[in-house]
């Protein structure tokens, strides 16, 4: 997928001015948070499950090679095929090869962030194959030629009235006078349009929430059932998944599933949890004739040996972005690539290069809400800070920020000079601001005063006032 992450600041400025987006983002803020909180409150062992889920993933990542090899052996034993792909280009080529070999004209797709990551739709279209998104949200954004703005709710940036207008513009074969004002009517219309496409598709492509090493299965969790139709109806099922999706056993899977839906949507369990293992067997009534797994690395094995390894525990529940005040302010598109929110701020620099996404890990107040709700206990603020350290070390930090920081550190590291200089500065500022108590403009503080006043300092510094009250002897008393 094409990235606009370098333009994060400009993207964010546009986003905060968009009244439609603001209305849509209210749903994220008000919907997901309360539902998750309620679901978690109903389950006393939630914290213990988080610890257990985290431990499973840590163990898996420590033995990833072993589990991947075991997984491939099981897939092969069931008659499927694993395609190891180092880069996005490798993965695109592997999918296209399969589609061409079977003469595919249309492919249906279940929701897959990996397909977004490798820009699969664009590649298929460029090669004369029509991809049809079957998840309602993905279908809507495909109509609009937009990327997803959220990893589990791709069209969360849109309001009902916008979607109605899109449907009227694109579904021109339907009566113009039809009623479409209710969410239910929009769902029904998408369902009718998609039903026909499901039956025509030659290949079904899904993502995977998990890959199970023990059985060689891929697992998807959905609420619409579109994933099942995508993978069962066509002759060929292709799973596109990244290599950290692996879990050792079905038992491990069941533990992680208990935290996934609760963290994501506040459901105890998703409506559909579908486990697929290989192609149709002779005794099966239905299923695909071919079963392929595109196993993508695309930078993950490099993360495995780095400080960013913890981010590979992510199960893509979206809780971090649902609870992120920055995401609430700018929405997902501002982040500029596939993964928005706090996890995006950690993953994007790892996957497309820090120089292409340096703003993302900086655009956080480190408020820590993401880490507090992450079911896999990923220390997201710490990982964002690691990126800032790499940015600083590689001299990617903007010059003005670097200069300002250097000047401040020069004083802060010289306490005596600092005390005198700051005392003089505060005296001056205090005198200037005494009459109003605050400044509405201040040189070099435009970032602050554009949107808020700067309270004036009281005038004397605490250190000076303390020294005056207690005498030099006592002020020096602490210096030992």
């Amino acid at each position: 997928m094409h990235s606009t992450a370098r333009a994060f600041k400009a993207n964010a400025r546009t986003a905060v001015e968009d009244p439609q987006l603001k209305r849509a983002l209210r749903h994220v803020k008000e919907g997901f948070i309360h539902k998750r909180a309620k679901a978690v409150a109903r389950l006393p062992e939630f914290e213990a499950l988080r610890d257990a889920a985290r431990a499973i993933k840590d163990h898996t990542l420590a033995h990833l090679d072993l589990y991947l090899e075991h997984y491939e052996a099981r897939v092969t034993a069931h008659g499927g095929q694993v395609h190891w792909c180092v880069t996005a280009a490798d993965a695109r080529a592997a999918v296209l090869d399969i589609c061409r070999r079977v003469g595919a004209k249309t492919v249906t797709k279940g929701k897959s962030m990996i397909a977004e990551e490798i820009a699969l739709n664009e590649h298929l279209e460029a090669n004369g194959i029509t991809p049809v998104e079957t998840d309602l949200g993905e279908y809507i954004i495909q109509l609009r030629h937009e990327p997803p703005s959220h990893i589990i709710a791709p069209a969360v940036h849109l309001t009902k009235d916008v979607i109605e207008a899109d449907f009227r513009a694109k579904h021109t074969h339907l009566p113009t006078g039809r009623s479409l004002g209710e969410a239910r009517e929009l769902v029904d219309e998408a369902r009718t349009v998609l039903r026909e496409r499901f039956l025509k598709a030659d290949v079904g492509i899904t993502g995977a929430n998990f890959l199970v090493a023990e059985t060689g299965s891929s697992v998807i969790v959905t609420n619409e059932g579109n994933g099942d139709l995508t993978q069962i109806l066509p002759r060929v099922h292709i799973v596109v998944a990244s290599l950290e999706k692996i879990v050792p056993t079905l038992e491990d899977l069941s533990i992680i599933l208990r935290v996934l839906a609760r963290s994501a949507t506040g459901q105890e369990f998703s409506t559909y949890t579908t486990v697929s293992t290989g192609p149709k067997r002779p005794e099966d009534p239905d299923g695909p004739e071919e079963y392929h797994v595109i196993l993508l690395d695309n930078g993950r094995s490099a993360m495995l040996g780095s400080v960013f390894r913890d981010a590979l525990r992510c199960i893509r529940c979206g809780a971090c972005m649902n609870h992120c005040p920055v995401y609430h302010a700018v929405g997902g598109h501002a982040y500029g690539w596939v993964y928005p929110g706090p996890i995006g701020a950690v993953l994007t620099p790892a996957l497309i290069g820090l120089e292409n996404a340096a703003d993302l890990p900086n655009a956080s107040t480190f408020c820590g809400r993401c880490e507090a709700v992450c079911p896999m206990e990923i220390p997201l603020p710490r990982l964002m800070r690691h990126w800032r350290e790499q940015e600083f070390a590689r001299h990617l930090t903007p010059l003005a920020a670097r200069t300002g920081l250097g000047l401040w550190a020069f004083f802060a590291k010289r306490p005596t000079l600092y005390r005198w200089a700051m005392r003089a500065a505060m005296k001056a500022l205090g005198r200037l601001g005494r009459r109003r108590g605050r400044f509405s403009t201040l040189p070099l503080a435009g970032g602050w005063t554009r949107f808020r006043d700067m309270p004036a300092p009281e005038g004397e510094t605490f250190q000076a006032a303390w020294a005056a009250r207690h005498g030099r002897a006592r002020a020096q008393g602490g210096q030992r």
């Binding site: 302010a329 005494r434 605050r438 250190q463 207690h470």
Partner: protein, 272 residues
């Protein structure tokens, strides 16, 4: 003033006040409120003059070397105290949670950083959790609301402590702030690096503050308070902002944050 207060004596704990750069520069009265609260909780308070800033601006900007230098400077300045107390959850969390990691690989400083971390407390939680203060004898007429600053809340678990002590302030009524646990948008350098985003966040906070029906918003961190007060003033919302220590110490008579000092000049200006 507090029920458990004991007069400071030679057996009283020696507390080093880490005043924090923002309190030192912008609002020294918060520092004096902290001193008063600590002394009334039976502590001997000293203020090492070699302190400047905890180093968060550098640490959060990826400037690890300067952050380490400032951590060493702070560790050295505060050795020998029984406790180190800061009127800020954010700065206390920096000393407590981050210094050990920042200096963990420096053989000469790792142990000293860990020792400092173990003795460091945020002011209000120190009063309640270490000194056992259950009540203050302060009076404050009016309805307040309390914003939970992020670091104090999520890194140090400070939530009940300020509410418990505020509930003992005579005349004070506490209205809970909707979304009290949501960041105000300050975030140190964040607010000037991403002013538009910060503005959305602090505007939301102002809406919640108004919805609380309080006349005063309190918090335990001056950074958040400068941000909220600045936005309240700019938006023309008549809610004052104060550090929680001012109210708990009974020292909330002076101008609130961003309000003019009561001088004869102002009296003339007001008439004019």
């Amino acid at each position: 003033m507090s029920e458990s207060a004991e007069p400071a004596s030679s057996s009283s704990p020696r507390v080093g006040l880490f005043v924090t750069c923002l309190v030192d520069l912008f609002r020294p009265s918060v520092g004096f409120a902290a001193v008063k609260l600590l002394e009334e909780a039976g502590c001997r308070v000293e203020v090492p003059s070699q302190q400047t800033c905890c180093g968060q601006p550098a640490y959060n900007s990826g400037d690890r070397a300067d952050a380490q230098d400032l951590a060493r400077q702070t560790v050295a300045a505060f050795e020998g105290f029984d406790y180190v107390v800061a009127p800020s959850g954010s700065c206390a969390a920096m000393l407590r949670e981050h210094y050990p990691a920042l200096l963990g690989e420096d053989p000469r400083w790792a142990e000293r950083a860990r020792a400092l971390a173990a003795r460091t407390w945020e002011l209000v939680s120190f009063l309640t959790d270490v000194r056992g203060v259950q009540a203050v004898a302060a009076r404050f007429e009016g309805t307040v609301t309390y914003h939970d600053s992020c670091s104090g809340l999520r890194e140090l678990g400070i939530r009940a402590q300020p509410r418990a002590l505020l509930s003992t302030v005579a005349g004070l009524r506490l209205n809970e702030l909707p979304d009290a646990d949501v960041c105000c948008g300050f975030g140190g350098t964040f607010c000037v690096k991403y002013p538009e985003i910060s503005n959305v966040m602090v505007s939301e906070k102002v809406t919640c503050i108004e919805a609380s029906g309080a006349q005063t918003v309190l918090a335990g961190d001056l950074g958040c308070l400068l941000n909220m007060a600045g936005k309240l003033h700019r938006a023309g919302v008549a809610v004052r902002a104060r550090h929680v220590a001012e109210v708990l110490a009974g020292m909330a008579d002076g101008p609130a944050i961003g309000e003019p000092a009561p001088t004869s000049d102002n009296a003339v200006a007001a008439k004019g």
